[in-house]
Symmetry: C2
Subunit: 449 residues, 2 copies
């Protein structure tokens, strides 16, 4: 394909993309296919001769699209939002064309791991400086990291990769990590000769969007000389609105590192995670290696920041471009309006749930997530979710809060409106009525037998 054909096909693709996004509501949000459907539809080897663009784009509709979960459908309420916007798509086209390899952004999982590894190096060097006889292994064996029992699974994974113990701190009634529980765990572990070195505080947990108390946890970490990493993967975007900033109080004094994902809720397509670190040498000290083929004349001038020392991979895409497009084309006001609209829609859904006495809200609604369930057993709620996701009109995922099976209704799509939320709720209510009716009949049947 030469530039002339690219001009033609590129414009067709622009129309295809616009058609897809304009018509997404008409597509079933969750696919009908079964795992493995694609294998017999694809040849086992690349074609020997080039094929035409027409053939390929036909196959996109015929064989790819039937397998797609439409994350940007206004009927997608699962997980958390993944960002999408026209400016970001435009920027990504340019990003692809420039195609330069930046040599620190990764995902939130990577941010947590990088922070943990930096903290591990820092505490190991510090203890070895005090007692030069200590081996690294002897220290690492005693290190303990902490996170709330509500923290994301990637925190446990970072502990596993870093080869250190990770302990879960029991959260309070609002699913938040508080001072007393953390202090208790630290005291117990220190008494056993262990070395606390790392705490992850989550702002906006995945399960129910709860917030660890930074103003309580922060001073303890400061006092104990423990690295505090703040994971605000989802909620971080909301802090562009002054009314949510209080949830971030304490971050300047106490956080050693902070991460949020603009690719979740700030209209910048995946992937785009932003990480800050209080003292950059803590990070670069843990990872810096300088082979000749990567040396450059500005290396030691302090004028430039070599992000390759901040992350696990060497290369990175030119992702800031799409962030820049989005910031400029929405403006702070446009971005704030977007966040506020989502929060308002989640409160609208919350109010609907409250109006139906068969249901209950399971956690405080602060941002764009509503955790709810039918009053009754876990089995009942599993059955409801099964019905919701089998009908494929909307898509939700569950979570466990303590021993309760809970449904998560997350406001996700860029184009979701009140009408979609209302329709989703009517749909859920209808399925609940069917389910409860069926159960009643079953009980009656059993009595008759």
């Amino acid at each position: 394909m030469n530039a002339r054909e690219f001009r033609r096909r590129g414009k067709e693709m622009v129309d295809y993309v616009a058609d897809y996004l304009e018509g997404i509501e008409g597509r079933q949000v969750y696919p009908d296919v079964e795992p493995g459907y694609l294998r017999p539809l694809l040849p086992t080897a690349a074609p020997q001769e080039p094929e035409t663009f027409e053939d390929i784009i036909k196959d996109v509709e015929k064989i790819i699209m039937p397998g797609v979960t439409h994350w940007h459908s206004p009927y997608f309420f699962a997980y958390f939002p993944t960002a999408s916007s026209y400016p970001a798509l435009l920027a990504d086209m340019l990003c692809g064309a420039i195609g330069c390899i930046g040599f620190s952004w990764g995902s939130a999982s990577e941010a947590t791991l990088v922070a943990l590894l930096a903290a591990r190096t820092k505490v190991t060097r510090c203890l070895q400086a005090a007692s030069p006889g200590l081996t690294q292994a002897a220290i690492v064996e005693k290190l303990v990291a902490y996170a709330s029992d509500q923290a994301h699974s990637s925190v446990e994974r970072a502990g596993l990769i870093g080869g250190v113990k990770l302990k879960a701190i029991p959260s309070d009634g609002k699913f938040a990590m508080r001072a007393s529980a953390l202090q208790e765990a630290l005291e117990r572990d220190k008494a056993e000769g262990l070395i606390p070195f790392f705490v992850v505080a989550t702002l906006g947990t995945t399960s129910c969007c709860s917030f660890d108390n930074l103003l309580e946890v922060g001073p303890i970490c400061h006092e104990e000389d423990v690295w505090l990493h703040v994971d605000a993967a989802y909620a971080g975007s909301a802090f562009i609105c002054p009314e949510f900033r209080h949830l971030l109080n304490g971050v300047e004094q106490y956080a050693d590192s902070f991460n949020f994902n603009p690719h979740k809720w700030l209209l910048v397509n995946f992937d785009c995670s932003a990480m800050w670190v209080k003292k950059r040498t803590d990070l670069t000290g843990a990872f810096k290696l300088d082979p000749v083929y990567l040396k450059h004349s500005h290396q030691d001038s302090g004028l430039i920041t070599d992000y390759r020392h901040w992350q696990l991979p060497l290369g990175r895409r030119f992702r800031s471009l799409k962030m820049w497009f989005v910031f400029r084309m929405y403006g702070v006001k446009g971005l704030q309006a977007y966040i506020r609209k989502h929060v308002q829609l989640s409160h609208e859904f919350e109010a609907l749930v409250h109006q139906d006495p068969r249901f209950e809200i399971c956690a405080e609604v602060t941002l764009g997530l509503v955790c709810f369930r039918l009053k009754g057993s876990n089995k009942l709620n599993e059955a409801l979710l099964e019905r919701i996701n089998s009908a494929k009109k909307i898509h939700l995922v569950p979570c466990h809060l303590r021993d309760q099976f809970v449904l998560r209704f997350a406001i996700c799509s860029r184009t979701v409106e009140s009408a979609h939320v209302q329709l989703a709720w009517e749909h859920i209510r209808g399925l609940a009525t069917d389910l409860l009716g069926a159960q009643k009949e079953e009980k009656a049947d059993r009595k008759l037998k």
Copy 2:
């Protein structure tokens, strides 16, 4: 921006991308700006009100492009190629529009790290099964990984992150890792009570594109029950041509894991790394964690592969799409022709260097990389590279081979032709003549004094 405006702007962007790539040869390959140039040109905060697309695209030319190193210029011969092609760009547009978050592909660095961590878990579990009293720390303290002294810096980094020793195996006269040197290191370490557990063999090293001898290294790893990871980040793409397949001999019998980067040399834009592993449970066993919000009904059916257990981040982009576009629109023949053309161009450059007795070739030319230098001191060659990169007509990076400072001429651009290589060589020769002349004059001057 609504869909209507996106249709208009998207088509303008397609033209901008085509204009950029068609005109890239006319742009200076390496920028004139100094680090920090961008900061005063950008506002310190996002705009309150949305801006227009016209303003932004004007700024792209005015403030972004002057800072860009044009990796796709036919005058770019630095590092290794980074892929670009029109089909991949088209696919990326669609990929952005679909914007689904796949839950294993990362970069080669990540592949090495993931393999090392899997090997670490495997050996630890195995030793603990034999001696239940052993702690993980006691084992990890004794683990040793090995790679040639020519391996990429990311291997050292993986060792650092994994908390294990990494030892460099001296390469032979052709910069390859051979049996004798590896065996010697293993014997010495085992005699000291250490535990060899992981070897990285590189096919196509970054410095000079040398090839570790898989048929020698493989049987040793097999014999010693040591995990063999093969890093073919650059050279892997060439194995689609039968004439290069012999370099891969032994991979089926001996490799536990294998990685190459289609985003280097297979026309698929960054990022796209492909990793294979012989026994998937070795990988998933090291990382698997299953929180409720990520559970799904097909989890235990064996029908689908959950790539999140294969990698560090949770999410991934729909990157296979662009690979699929590229495979189909080039066909195997088109891709082979592309690889062969690059290899032929590097041999053309090699022949030019041979014709000038002032220069020497420093390593065997197998694929698309030529390592060369002026006969003489490192200082002389550093001065030559300085002149080349200051002139900014072409862009090269150096490497060290043993104690020699060497210039790397890598065939990179999708659009590089014989004419560009000839012109580049004339340019280098001219600069060498100037440099040698200036030195002669200096010497004469010193004699007169």
